[in-house]
């Protein structure tokens, strides 16, 4: 009888050190995590420190080009149409952006995931109702929904989050349901049934851990989508409004100047791309790290096989 050798030679230092060494093993994921930490710090403390600088107009420095240190380091990325330093604005905008996108993604994945679990697991008419609800949301133009809702209600941060979350629910709903339908028929779920496990236990202990990595991956992809959707709402005049700022809003504000001052849209766009990319890399790492059958790839250290 051959015996696959144990790979996890448990080192002293506890779980935290183990996770850190697994993160270090994947350099891309490590730097992604660093960048996200930076973005998070910006979101938390940016407005506190740079609010005044970010809103101070300086008409002599309109559309000041980047990499010019003559006006001071804060203008390193250039200035916008009203001469406000882009670096400071990006840092300050991180808060609103993260708040809106994060809350919307969290809400839609929670609601969509839960409904998907119910729809996939129950064999009764509840599943049909949930799926038709998803179809209704999907067939309704999301922008139209946004216009109607935000026209009737105040265009506040909470309402924007609500609209964005509702329109993204079907994505999670359908994916979760499809995965649950497949996982539910697996042997180990039946083995749990034979042991007399409750429905709650089967769903949360046996089904959810298998489908969670998929949901996390979709959520990170969706993060970027929601950031851009939020900016198009701002463009229509029903999203976040100036003087409040988000990265998406900055991109759309820079659009008229694209031909002569590309940096107005470029830097906030870069911030969006880097955030999404980092989230993606990190979720990819997490998928491997959370899967006991894949974990060896990280525990082996840098060099990857196969």
């Amino acid at each position: 009888m051959t015996d696959t050798q144990t790979l996890s030679g448990r080192k002293p230092g506890g779980a935290l050190a183990r996770w850190f060494s697994m993160l270090w093993a994947d350099k891309f994921a490590f730097f992604a995590a660093l960048f996200l930490l930076l973005a998070l710090l910006c979101a938390l403390f940016g407005p506190l420190l740079l609010e005044a600088v970010a809103t101070k107009q300086n008409l002599r420095g309109r559309n000041a080009p980047p990499f010019d240190l003559a006006r001071g380091w804060i203008y390193i990325l250039g200035a916008d149409a009203l001469g406000r330093p882009l670096l400071a604005r990006i840092v300050v905008a991180a808060q609103n952006t993260m708040l809106v996108a994060g809350a919307a993604v969290l809400a839609s994945s929670l609601v969509g995931g839960t409904l998907g679990l119910v729809a996939g697991y129950s064999r009764r008419s509840a599943s049909q109702w949930i799926m038709r609800l998803g179809d209704v949301i999907m067939s309704f133009p999301s922008l139209l929904l946004a216009v109607i809702v935000l026209y009737m209600l105040e265009p506040s941060v909470a309402n924007i989050v609500l609209v964005l979350a509702v329109t993204r629910i079907p994505i999670y709903l359908r994916t979760t349901r499809a995965e649950v339908l497949e996982v539910r028929e697996r042997m180990f779920v039946q083995a749990a049934t034979v042991m007399g496990a409750s429905h709650r236990r089967i769903v949360f202990r046996h089904i959810l851990p298998v489908i969670l990595p998929t949901l996390v991956t979709i959520a990170t992809l969706d993060f970027a989508f929601v950031m851009l959707a939020e900016s198009s709402l701002s463009f229509l005049g029903i999203g976040i409004q100036a003087p409040e700022i988000t990265w998406g809003l900055m991109v759309s504000q820079g659009r008229p100047y694209l031909t002569n001052a590309w940096w107005l849209s470029f830097w906030p766009g870069l911030a969006i791309i880097l955030t999404t990319l980092s989230l993606n890399l990190l979720s990819n790492w997490m998928r491997i790290a959370l899967d006991p059958t894949q974990r060896w790839r990280l525990e082996m250290g840098g060099r990857r096989n196969g």
Binding site: T4, F188, A191, T293
Partner: protein, 544 residues
């Protein structure tokens, strides 16, 4: 020296994996002549398929790497050829059939088209390819070849699909046919037919047949010579009968001893008193399909009842019905006199403890994201009254020892174990419930013979120790011979014969039972030859 049709000389292949470099095969040499059948016999992980993969250029490189050796086809080294030359040989000169024909037939094309494609890619004109495809379908025994050409793979049975694969492989009149576990996925009666077909085709065409198998019975039935592999090296090679009669290497001896169906049959015990579980008139429909047609059965405390039948006989449906995984449409299941089907979920929950199940494939029945400790202790999470939490660790260790594993394995995940070890974990999990009855649904079918024997011995020992009852579902008669008290033979949803094990094996009454017994392959080549002769005689009488 006469040149061999195919010769493998000193082949070594290594794979780079997580655990470092693994030598899949080391210094393997064998040869195959025209009109000869060579069997490569080995258990999973023995490297028996690697040399065939190397011949067909199927080894992924990297991570695989051929480090040494040569493969001579008609005297030319295939490893030195370029990709173009090898493509010309693959399929045309050397063809291959696989274990699972459904996975190797494209589901969206008609089978006639797929057989023709095989020939047209090697330069046969379309009309001629079609004519030959028809011939082939007829030759491999597909009924109504004309209509079959237009059908899709899913419209055929498992045995027919394997015949289609054989037809496809023979399309270009190959010199060599490589068959990788060609009958493992088939029922015994179908297996016998497919092997017979292979043998007949070989005699007609004079091709060399290379058979890769784990089954001594298949070797006995068809092989001229046998190569026994273990751990990536050849341990023994010789004439099939000679190797069986007089095995030289200890591994070969162990393999032959482990073959089921040779030990003493257990004496049928007296059936007195109240049965533990009793099923009366069970019916189950799946749409129009009548899966169970009024099944009656009774299991006494401490008794092992085996249910044997081929695929589609309803034996798994029966197992699932007994545990209420699928509710039957009619009849009743009495557990100690109480009707299981009429119970409320709450009452049933209490009974779940007493009725446990071990599934066919431990890879799938163990949650891959739980450690062994979590898997086994889940029983006590669900039924907290069995054991106080403080004693869980101790009890898990005890159960692991009981099923032949080490207590320090509790922290590992299922993928870190071999197939046999995983099935032991599944058994330990069932035992954690302290059940009265364990339903084993093909619990040893997916395991290697030597491990099969170990697991059966384990189950037998546990029965004695705890007074367990088993409902043992199997498709293979020899497996249940040494183990079961009573045997139930099922066919098409009905019980065709039932009785103590001795009666079933020594004096089978129903023709179907007799057919099953005749079709199951004995590891002894001489017995197999005698059976074959008897079969031919009978057929001769029928046709005469």
């Amino acid at each position: 020296m006469a040149e061999h049709l195919l010769e493998v000389r000193g082949l070594s292949v290594e794979f780079h994996t997580a655990a470092g470099t693994v030598n899949a095969v080391q210094d393997v040499s064998w040869h195959l002549d025209r009109g000869e059948t060579l069997a490569i016999l080995g258990e999973s992980g023995s490297g028996k398929s690697v040399s065939a993969s190397a011949i067909m250029n199927l080894i992924d490189m990297p991570p695989g790497r051929i480090t040494a050796g040569a493969i001579l086809f008609n005297g030319r080294d295939m490893l030195a050829m370029d990709a173009e030359e090898r493509r010309a040989i693959n399929g045309a000169k050397i063809a291959m059939i696989f274990q699972d024909p459904l996975a190797h037939l494209n589901p969206v094309y008609a089978v006639g088209w797929q057989i023709c494609e095989m020939m047209t890619t090697h330069g046969t004109p379309g009309a001629e390819a079609r004519r030959r495809a028809l011939d082939l379908l007829e030759r491999v025994g597909i009924p109504q070849p004309e209509a079959a050409m237009r059908k899709y793979p899913f419209q055929f049975s498992g045995g027919q699909r394997q015949r289609l694969m054989i037809a496809m492989a023979l399309a270009c009149k190959p010199d060599i046919l490589i068959a990788d576990e060609p009958t493992t996925a088939l029922d015994v009666t179908v297996q016998a037919q497919v092997l017979e077909l292979l043998k007949a085709l070989q005699q007609e065409t004079g091709m060399g047949l290379l058979l890769i198998t784990h089954d001594l019975g298949v070797v006995a039935e068809i092989a001229d010579r046998v190569v026994v592999m273990n751990g990536g090296s050849i341990v023994e090679t010789g004439k099939a009968a000679a190797v069986y009669r007089n095995p030289q290497h200890p591994y070969t001896r162990k393999l032959i001893d482990a073959a089921p169906g040779k030990g003493a049959m257990p004496e049928g015990r007296e059936r007195r008193g109240e049965p533990l579980v009793k099923a009366v008139g069970l019916h189950k429909h799946y749409g129009l399909f009548h899966a169970l047609k009024g099944i009656d059965l009774a299991i006494m405390p401490g008794e092992t009842v085996a249910v044997v039948g081929e695929s589609g006989s309803g034996k798994s449906t029966l197992a699932r019905a007994m545990l209420r995984l699928d509710d039957p449409d009619g009849g009743e299941i009495l557990y100690r006199g109480r009707d299981l089907l009429a119970m409320t979920p709450r009452e049933l929950f209490g009974l779940r403890r007493d009725l446990q199940m071990v599934f066919q494939d431990p890879t799938q029945s163990l949650n891959p994201r739980m450690t062994v400790f979590q898997l086994i202790s889940e029983a006590w999470v669900i039924h907290p009254d069995i054991l106080p939490k403080a004693r869980w660790r101790e009890k898990v260790a005890e159960l692991l020892v009981k099923v032949g594993l080490k207590p320090d394995m509790a922290g590992r995940y299922p993928h870190q174990f071999s197939g046999g070890q995983r099935q032991r974990i599944a058994i330990a999990r069932a035992l954690a419930m302290e059940p009265k009855l364990i339903v084993c649904d093909e619990a040893v079918s997916a395991l290697d013979v030597s491990i099969q024997a170990q697991v059966i011995a384990l189950l037998d020992g546990l029965r004695r120790e705890f007074g367990l009852s088993y409902l043992f579902i199997a498709h293979d008669l020899p497996v249940v011979r040494d183990f079961a008290d009573r045997v139930i033979v099922m066919k098409a949803g009905e019980i065709v014969e039932e009785g103590p094990v001795r009666q079933i094996f020594d004096a089978p009454q129903h023709p179907y039972t007799r057919a099953l017994l005749a079709a199951s392959l004995d590891p002894d080549p001489d017995i197999q030859a005698a059976r074959r002769a008897a079969r031919n005689l009978e057929e001769g009488r029928v046709t005469a």
